[in-house]
Symmetry: C2
DNA sequence: CCGGAGATGGGTGGCACCACCCATGTACGG
DNA sequence: CCGTACATGGGTGGTGCCACCCATCTCCGG
């Protein structure tokens, strides 16, 4: 554990599939004396590898990345490097994914559209162990709390399981049940079973609606 | 017209809905002595207004922006400010889109994923009146040229007809052929005919791909 | 230790989608 | 005035999606 009483700069791992965004984030963060980007990853898998290598203090992760999403990466990183702080960076102000991010162990959630204003502060908050919530997230949090208080029931519950999300991603990318079954080495019926469960859970009618949902929540790009 | 024989820095209008991307692009461009960002817009409409106000030499436009897409903005800007150079910035390496950009009057097309490397060079190419094409675009261009050379016909022209676009919108919103037929007061077969024509034109396989296409080009929201 | 949740797999049937085939009418430009 | 593009409509057949039904196995928590 790094001795935070005599702090050097916070060592940051940056993961985003767009070099341009990485460049912007790096310039913003490296402009601060107490923050330093030590590694850049272009996808979730690379982030995981680089985190193991560089042991950063903080990981700033894009939610939507190829191969492994930022949320999956966050879960893996949490498990692999327990002391690591996590900050999610996203294009979409989506309530569901905001809660997923918190559950995946993220300390904060910053919208790309306002990131130039909030990002540095979010990093510092994360390192102090405090959550950082952009204003829209606070609104979502309050609305969600009120909703549950009104209905009187329990925790937000994860809408989709990890396996379902995996299959949703493939469905939304346009793969047929047969293709997905081949990819995951399971039967077509199981793929259809998962897809049917998702349709039921989300109150949707077909894979087209699932696709738009996946795009909305940032699981895939159009 | 500015006198390019005694050039000051190229005055650039930057339009992207993500402040973070704008920040990155601005830092990259302002780091060059011959380039200067004079205005930033968060969407296409704002870009149009700022272009009228600042009369920049070059506009760097994100393809996907809220309210008015970069392509729409490019067309409007071309019409409003004939001398203006245009450079499109995009997340998607999509052939169709790339040709739309060229048709909208863009001098170049740069992928965000490689923009930190290519962007400055693309700006200078645009100001010299030369096209800038990232390698993938060159490949697409050659393939397209060969396709047309083989078939012996002319310019790409408008991809979809007005009626097709109308039907695409409904398809992408998730309506079935029967519903669309009822809405437009035509037969189911005609709807299917139009849809099949679109699939053929765009080289796609099913309505799911059509949906993503519609989202990409800003015809509908996810 | 048992119940629930999750992942796995199978069968049947209806319907939408999609790829082929065919045709007619209109409008516009060479 | 004729060809081409566009919109219209019909038929046939294959395949995938989706809604139902059924089951087994594992894992975790009460």
């Amino acid at each position: 554990m790094i001795d935070r009483t005599v702090p050097g700069p916070v060592r940051i791992l940056l993961a985003d599939d767009h070099a341009l965004v990485r460049r912007g984030v790096r310039l913003i963060l490296d402009g601060e004396p107490d923050l330093e980007v030590v590694a850049e990853a272009g996808d979730g898998a690379e982030a995981l590898a680089l985190a193991r290598e560089h042991r950063p203090d903080l990981a700033v992760l894009d939610v939507a990345m190829p191969r492994m999403t930022g949320l999956q990466a966050a879960r893996e990183l949490s498990a692999a490097l327990p002391g690591l702080r996590l900050l999610m960076l996203t294009m979409y102000d989506n309530e569901q994914y905001f809660f997923e991010a918190l559950k995946a162990g993220a300390s904060g959630y910053v919208l790309k559209s306002v990131a130039d204003r909030d990002l540095v502060e979010a990093c510092r908050s994360a390192m102090r162990g405090e959550p950082f919530l952009y204003p829209g997230a606070v609104t979502a949090l309050i609305r969600h709390y009120l909703d549950r208080a009104r209905q009187g029931d329990g925790v937000p519950e994860k809408i989709l399981t990890a396996r379902e999300e995996e299959i949703l991603k493939l469905v939304a990318e346009g793969h047929s049940s047969k293709e997905i079954a081949a990819t995951l080495v399971i039967s077509v019926k199981t793929v259809e079973r998962h897809r049917a469960n998702m349709l039921h859970k989300l109150g949707m009618r077909d894979r087209l609606e699932l696709t738009r949902y996946a795009i909305r929540v940032g699981l895939i790009e159009p």
